[in-house]
């Protein structure tokens, strides 16, 4: 009997050792939301982009310092008139279903982006008039007019090349089982529970992929996400609340990573959309200037976010080369009062709508008390996010606290928001000079010309203030100390190249 027990124990120990040696590297990642449909053509959520990053390689990608680098592409060349872009593709790249990624697949994907009903990529590629296969590893994209942000657009969802064979099965089937050319292939998805990906052995850049499996778990509550990380049920969590930073740092088992975002948090003012635009703040730029001057952005960030976010009054993130190097304007109550007096509105009422999350409500309250000192009577109205968005686009609000997650190219942060008739221009702000500068920004080919154009946009919008910018968030990740090699990117999207666990 004793012999039997001993041999069982030995066998168990051996099996244990074997099991340990061959242990697969699995990473469990806590997300803030559950993504929408996993089809790069249709996808509409930020969190969807987070999951795609492991599954779908793009023609181009960004580096942490926002340089554009080729991925599925190896290089590109603009035609002299800037109306056609020739892209050279990487040889020997396979999709996760074993088919070849080539020029025909790129053409198929971009054509699908332009024609699939409900495609969210269509407007991003609006200027594209045709895609031509030059040879198996070369495609040529024709444009109606020069469009400088195109490479940046192709470094996001529009540049994720999908397997034509898999997509032929129909959009619904594809969205439930996406096939791309990224490092991890789709295994399963249980809505609101998990998305499981496993390493794609034939990935073109497999030398940089050390993990065997990634499981994404959507856990909306940041406190619960953190609890899961601390208990070891998760290895890595995104969007940690800045107020939890001290707690994370005090834990010997955890480390953090952070980087300033590409987007911004601001207040969109209704300047010309329906009756609420006739309010003092909507109808007079001096009132808006006074409002902006009454806010101490540094103090706001200090109070609500433990000083972790970045106070600023610009629409590009601090990492962007288009961000203007200048100090954040100081609070100036005397000047604000003078402006209000000049506008004949010493005590204007401002109806400020705030999404009903606890921290944004706090942002609203801090602004309310700061603006009161300049003479403003700020009335806060908390509104659930989708309702607020709807009311804002219908022109039912005076001012709305609204964030934008940000894009690599400056065009993605400003064009739709302040161009006349822009899709996200809820306040219907319109200024021909701004429009002209935005067009130059889109079409000019060299950096200096684009920078000059966007500086011009900033100069005008700083004065007219259709959006009062408040601060930039910092993306904050927390992870177990066993996770190594994680590099934060300013777009907030996790990339697992060279990340290990163990």
């Amino acid at each position: 009997m004793r012999g039997l027990i001993r041999s069982v124990l030995v066998a168990l120990a051996f099996a244990g050792a074997l099991g340990h040696g061959a242990q697969a590297q699995q990473l469990r990642v806590g997300l803030q939301e559950d993504p929408d449909v996993l089809d790069p053509t249709i996808s509409r959520t930020f969190v969807g982009r987070v999951v795609f990053a492991s599954m779908c390689d793009k023609l181009f990608d960004i580096t942490p310092d926002l340089k554009l680098v080729p991925r599925l592409a190896t290089g590109y060349e603009w035609s002299p008139d800037q109306k056609s872009l020739t892209i050279k593709l990487r040889d020997g790249v396979l999709f996760q279903d074993g088919t070849k990624m080539d020029a025909a697949a790129v053409k198929y994907t971009l054509d699908r982006d332009l024609t699939l009903p409900g495609s969210t990529r269509k407007s991003e590629l609006a200027g594209v008039t045709g895609i031509e296969v030059v040879d198996p590893l070369t495609v040529k994209i024709a444009l109606a007019a020069p469009f400088a942000p195109l490479i940046a657009v192709l470094s996001d969802r529009a540049g994720m090349i999908i397997s034509p064979k898999a997509a032929e099965g129909g959009a619904t089937a594809f969205g439930n089982h996406p096939v791309c050319a990224g490092p991890f292939k789709f295994v399963e998805r249980v809505p609101q529970d998990r998305i499981v990906l496993e390493r794609f052995p034939d990935y073109w850049d497999k030398g940089h992929i050390k993990l065997d499996k990634i499981t994404y778990l959507p856990i909306p509550d940041s406190a619960v996400r953190l609890a899961n990380l601390k208990s070891g049920d998760l290895d890595l969590i995104e969007r940690v609340a800045p107020t939890d930073l001290d707690e994370v740092k005090s834990s010997p088992k955890l480390i953090t990573a952070s980087i300033g975002e590409l987007g911004y948090q601001g207040i969109t003012i209704n300047t010309d959309n329906g009756p609420p635009s006739k309010s003092p703040i909507g109808s007079d730029e001096r009132v808006r200037q006074a409002f902006s001057l009454s806010i101490d952005r540094e103090a706001l960030v200090q109070v609500v976010y433990n000083g972790f976010f970045i106070a600023d009054d610009q629409w590009t993130g601090p990492a962007s080369p288009f961000h203007i190097k200048r100090p954040v304007p100081a609070r100036d109550i005397a000047k604000a009062k003078a402006l209000l007096a000049a506008a004949g509105q010493p005590h204007p009422t401002v109806n400020l709508t705030v999404p009903n999350t606890p921290t944004l409500m706090q942002v609203g309250q801090v602004i309310q008390s700061m603006a009161a000192e300049a003479g403003f009577d700020v009335k806060l109205q908390a509104m659930e996010f989708a309702s607020g968005l709807s009311a804002s686009s219908k022109g039912e609000l005076e001012a709305l606290v609204l964030a934008w997650s940000g894009r690599t190219d400056p065009d993605g942060n400003i064009y739709s928001f302040v161009s006349c008739g822009g899709a996200l221009n809820d306040g219907k702000y319109c200024n021909k000079d701004v429009d002209a500068a935005l067009q130059t920004g889109r079409t000019a080919s060299d950096f200096a010309a684009r920078k000059a154009a966007y500086d011009k946009v900033t100069e005008i919008t700083d004065k007219e203030l259709p959006i009062i910018y408040l601060f930039h968030q910092q993306w904050l990740w927390a992870m177990s100390k066993t996770v190594k090699g994680f590099a934060p990117y300013p777009d907030g999207i996790m990339r697992f190249n060279d990340v290990t666990k163990g």
């Binding site: 969210t120 609101q192 070891g232 968005l389």
Partner: protein
Amino acid sequence: MRRFILHRLGILIPTLIFVSMMIFALQQLLPGDPALALAGEERDPQVIQYLRARYHLDQPLPVRYAYWIGGVLRGDLGESIRIQRPVAELVLEKLPVTGELTVLAMIIALAIGIPAGIVAAVKRGTAWDVAANAVALWGLSTPNFWLGILMILLFSVHLGWLPASGYVSPFESLWGNLATLIMPAFVLGNAIAAVIMRHTRSAMLQVMRSDYVRTARAKGLSERTVILKHGLRNALGPVITLGALEFGQLLSGAVLTEQVFTIPGFGKLVVDAVFNRDYAVVQGVVLCTASFYILLNLAADLLYAAINPRLRA
């Protein structure tokens, strides 16, 4: 008995039609344009228009109701706009999860509530009674989400005994399944245990004062037999009705608990769908929950009739 059942089934159909209309109408009161909410951050006008047309959001209300109810009658609950999957499939996927959670919670509630109620009634006025009432009051007044987070902190973060959240299918691992469900089931069951305890107590108090209990005692039956056979059996009627109602409420009331413990059940499905204005999902889930509620009520009535022959007439 058969007439009783048929009568009750007859009421079922108009009730369900009325419920379906209510669900549809109430949902329209939600502020916020669903096409806009679902169009994502870019709010592309072409996409918004496409979503409106595809999901009939541009049609008048009665037409939309007709589309929906027509589909429901053919067994088609529609499609989630957000993740492009049939609602019926989602419901079938989530129902067993919430079902299991609810059953576990109910077992915990009954296991705590009924014995505590009996003890409180039998030992009325003693320390036992006070203790049971105090526990009940605590259960009733503790918010689910708060208790949930505290339990996560204690059992997952500090002690490391249980996973903090998520769900494991029993087919994958029975132990894993119980480990993920025990905390949420306790949180849910805890509040209901309090209600059941209080009802059991008052029903028992009433029954124990009745003549037949005095007769039973006079016959010299043991106190145990008197309490369990004569007392409890008669006191259980209202407790069963209450249990069925609470059970139905659990199906929909697991919302907060599922959110805290990230359990991919009905509650989480509906909350996410409401925030994203994924109308078809909200309608499908609420219709199913309402149907269950109605069926559970029916089951309670039938059970009631089974233990109380006077109701069968």
